[in-house]
């Protein structure tokens, strides 16, 4: 039974989100802490270094960590406030069980584990191994990610494991593997400093990766031209040399026309193309009709701006192209990524100082997490679960028969669909809040309600976990040792600052206990996170994401190690492709033809407005952590509908008026924020909120055919201005139902 045991309001009253503020005088002991722990922020892929101040086993404050090379003490508001997730009134202090009609009741670990294991066994015996699934997340360390992957394949023996990176970096990963045979940003951000031209496509850098802004500005101080491609004037777009205000869903038309222009003007690196790439002829044939005029018509960007962008890009000697979810959250997310890569390869500006390319990985361990564990089609070391040699290698490391290793399972959204149609009956979730973060979340809720058994491991009772039969109280990032891999590919050390409070346990301990109880204890005989990492090193050895030469000691000594690092005497690889040998089977970088396709849902007379979604600076992902921190919520108390004044006038919408936004999936109400910093044909809603304030009531569940990423960034909607008394939303900010 995965329906809510009681009304959401009653659950919220007990388990939050409640807002945590520091007392005016600060937490006790902040001025004289027992220790100051050098670790990293728990949020985005920048993984800024930070010191956590600890008194009496509680995190009581922070200090800037000036020596960590990426951020040198710099932090965003989320980083400054992240310590408040610790010592939080909503923290789960013991396992819980669902009691129908009453809510959740604290239970002991024995009962919680007995119930969980019995349910897993019953479901797997009744419906088959694959009927029990796992959804994981990449805020987990490399060690935990690896453990979840091994747990699914070895202890559960289910193929149905996927992760929230499916909503994040998978389009980039797929595109990078096609082009380079390897999935990592090719350069560190230090290579931004002397890039002559920087393109940032679909990345609201100053809100989602604020500490990256300083690196972009260092380049600008040195004369770099900055080109931002975004439907909105974001803070980084405001001062850009060129802002290409692309219509959502048309990015690949822009890149195609720019590539065609480079060909027409012969702004190409022929030596690089001839000697180190494949597929150029087919790729330029695909865009030969993509004129600037045509692209202007499709994208809504002026011809002159597209020409200027192509000229700047084509004539630069050094450059860096960055992209993120803005181009990746599409049914053609992989195409968009490949379109960008084609521009990089055509100019040969990669694998050299100040010549870089990369996706900006979003989640804290979005990079490492996707390499080693819980992606449905992947085995450690970024190995392919369908490749016989890769399977055999991992089976040997794990001490199992290759035939016992499950195959490729459903991707995250497809898994929800399989639950919805009754094919998958059980779910374990850790570090994933799909009821907020997946598109079309009415459908997700229906799916959850069909589960026969749902167990959630989490430190707070997030919106999805409210549907659980059993909740296992797990650990925060600062409560375990481990490693993460940053967006630059730098493996860094997460340090344990405190131990889990009350009866809560370390995630690792919980995962190992489940493995033991499922009869696989001999395969999970780890005494520490470092032992798990050491097995991961071996499991990754020889894979494209080779961590074999990375040790805890080396990470600390070097303040991070860039993979690949294949041997103990190897220093790591900050810049890829300097030898011009790519990781594809033929050793060449691959152009890929990209023909323009429209988004899966286009505007029409009934739904005439383009809806796009994104983020705000003070919130992170589904908000499980950041919607519980007072000042971060005060900064953005609710999601607002950003709308251009011309469109607002057309609908008679006034500033802060309530507007019903409807799509073919559902309707939701938001207060309007009328701003000139958005396209006239597009509205924007940030997605971090649940229930009736969730933008994902509206978004569409269509997927990229390759990466299976949902098309969060574009769908069609209609707008209806409301009077407050017409609102059906009640007090919606945190309600689930």
């Amino acid at each position: 039974m995965a329906t809510l045991p009681v009304q959401a309001d009653a659950i919220i009253q007990r388990y939050g989100p409640h807002l945590n503020y520091a007392p005016k005088e600060g937490f006790y002991g902040r001025e004289e802490p027992d220790k100051s722990v050098k670790t990293h922020c728990c949020f985005c892929g920048m993984q800024c270094g930070i010191k956590l101040l600890v008194k009496d086993n509680k995190v009581v404050g922070f200090d800037p960590w000036m020596e960590f090379p990426f951020n040198e003490g710099r932090l965003c508001p989320k980083g400054v406030q992240r310590y408040l997730q610790n010592n939080h009134p909503d923290r789960l202090l013991s396992p819980l069980k669902r009691v129908a009609g009453q809510g959740f009741e604290p239970v002991g670990w024995e009962e919680a584990m007995d119930t969980t294991i019995a349910a897993i066994r019953r479901i797997q015996q009744t419906y088959g191994k694959d009927a029990f699934s796992i959804l994981s997340g990449v805020s987990l360390t490399n060690e935990k990610s690896y453990l979840v992957g091994k747990l699914a394949r070895v202890a559960f023996q289910t193929k149905n494991l996927d992760y929230n990176g499916r909503l994040c970096m998978v389009s980039a990963g797929a595109g990078n593997k096609k082009a380079f045979g390897l999935d990592r940003a090719s350069n560190t951000y230090a290579d931004l400093k002397h890039a002559e031209v920087i393109i940032i496509a679909g990345a609201n850098v100053s809100e989602t990766f604020p500490t990256l802004t300083h690196w972009v500005w260092q380049a600008r101080d040195n004369g770099a031209k900055l080109i931002i491609i975004d439907p909105r004037v974001t803070p980084i777009a405001r001062t850009a040399d060129l802002h290409l205000d692309v219509r959502p869903g048309t990015d690949s038309a822009l890149y195609g026309a720019m590539l065609n222009y480079l060909v027409q003007q012969d702004l190409l690196d022929h030596d690089f193309i001839d000697n180190y790439t494949m597929g150029f002829a087919d790729t330029i044939a695909a865009v030969k009709d993509y004129s600037l005029e045509w692209a202007a018509g499709v994208t809504g960007i002026s011809i002159e701006k597209i020409r200027q962008a192509a000229e700047l890009w084509g004539r630069a000697k050094t450059s860096f192209l960055l992209h993120a979810r803005g181009i990746e959250h599409h049914t053609k997310g992989v195409d968009n990524v490949l379109g960008c890569i084609n521009l990089v390869l055509a100019t040969g500006r990669i694998g050299k100082p100040y010549c870089g390319y990369g996706t900006i990985t979003g989640q804290g361990n979005g990079q490492g997490g996707r390499e080693h564990g819980h992606k449905c089609d992947q085995l450690p070391g970024n190995r392919d679960i369908t490749n016989p040699e890769h399977r055999q290698y991992i089976a040997n490391v794990w001490g199992i028969e290759e035939s016992a290793l499950p195959g490729k399972g459903y991707t995250a959204y497809a898994l929800i669909e399989a639950i919805h149609r009754g094919e998958v009956k059980g779910l374990l979730s850790i570090c994933f809040n799909p009821l907020v973060s997946l598109p079309n979340n009415q459908f997700v809720r229906e799916a959850l309600e069909k589960l026969e058994f749902y167990v959630a491991i989490d430190f707070f009772l997030n919106e999805t976990a409210r549907h659980a039969d059993i909740v296992l109280a797990g650990s925060l990032q600062e409560e375990e040792e481990g490693t993460v891999t940053t967006a630059e590919g730098r493996v860094t050390r997460i340090r344990q600052a405190v131990t889990p409070p009350g009866e809560a346990r370390a995630d690792t301990e919980i995962l190992l206990e489940i493995a033991r109880r499922l009869g696989a204890g001999d395969k999970f005989n780890f005494q520490s996170s470092e032992e798990i990492f050491n097995e991961l090193r071996v499991a990754s050895k020889g894979g494209t994401a080779d961590y074999y030469g990375i040790t805890y000691e080396k990470i600390e000594k070097q303040m991070g190690v860039f993979w690949p690092c294949p041997s103990l005497d190897h220093p790591g690889t900050p810049r890829l492709w300097e030898d011009r040998k790519f990781s594809t089977p033929d050793g060449k970088a691959h152009f890929n033809p990209v023909t323009y396709k429209p988004p899966s849902e286009v505007t029409d007379a009934e739904y005439p407005v383009v809806l796009t979604t994104g983020r705000v600076v003070s919130q992170y992902l589904s908000g499980t952590q950041t919607r519980r921190i007072g000042k971060l919520v005060d900064q953005f108390p609710e999601p607002l509908l950003e709308i251009h004044p011309e469109m607002a006038a057309r609908y008679g919408i006034t500033q802060r008026q309530l507007v019903r936004v409807s799509t073919r999936r559902g309707a939701a109400e938001f207060h309007a924020n009328i701003v000139e910093t958005i396209r006239k044909d597009t509205v924007f809603i940030p997605y971090h909120w649940p229930g009736k304030k969730s933008a994902n009531q509206l978004t569409i569940g269509t997927l990229d055919p390759v990466s299976k990423i949902p098309e969060f960034k574009v769908c069609a909607c209609q707008l209806t201005p409301l009077q407050e008394e017409e609102s059906g939303a009640g007090n919606p900010a945190y309600a689930s139902e």
């Binding site: 404050g61 932090l75 803070p235």
Partner: protein
């Protein structure tokens, strides 16, 4: 004010508004200081959100001849030997708000709950120990920079530190600099 040998007189504060991304990290970090009681002494505001995403950040400019101190009837505001204009001496401040009204930059704020003016003292606890002020330490875009004049000139060759402000007939010189286009020597406020 007692001399502290760790205060680095070669280091200055530089504000570059064009870099401000409006993230509020500076405010949140400032508020963490034990003497600030979770209130920020630095303020980030939209210029006019309907038209632009641009924000401004206002920190105490630490005037050479601080008008806040001149108008204080209780002699609660003092400038020290390093040019830092300190927040109101709590035992002297009478909460009259003269300084609040007089400051040309709108910096001092009266904290009604304490009946006391509070403002930035350039993190004296940190700067007197050789550290950077907290806001300039965390600022992710380095719109707030603390370091030497030589450093910022080398790093940002297209900008010029300016510390002369003209308000009508009044000229105000400040310890804090703002970054302006190369060749600028003053900022005139109309």
């Amino acid at each position: 004010m007692e001399t502290n040998t760790y205060y680095r007189t070669d280091q200055e504060f530089f504000v570059d508004m064009q870099r401000c991304i409006g993230c509020h990290a500076c405010e949140m970090a400032c508020a963490e200081c034990e003497t600030n009681g979770q209130e920020s002494m630095i303020h980030v505001n939209y210029v006019d959100r309907a038209y632009t995403i641009q924000t401004t950040v206002q920190v105490c400019m630490h005037c050479e001849d601080p008008v806040c101190a001149q108008v204080c009837p209780a002699d609660a505001i003092a400038k020290d030997e390093f040019g830092v204009v300190h927040t109101a001496n709590t035992s002297r401040c009478i909460g009259c708000s003269n300084c609040v009204m007089a400051c040309p930059f709108g910096v001092p704020k009266k904290q009604e709950q304490y009946d006391l003016m509070m403002k930035c003292n350039m993190c004296y606890d940190r700067t007197s120990a050789g550290k950077k002020p907290m806001c300039a330490t965390v600022c992710p875009s380095q719109a707030l920079y603390y370091g030497t004049r030589e450093e910022i000139r080398a790093m940002r060759p297209n900008s010029e530190p300016v510390n002369t402000f003209i308000f009508g007939k009044e000229t105000v010189k400040t310890k804090v600099n703002i970054m302006m286009p190369k060749g600028s020597t003053f900022l005139k406020v109309h």
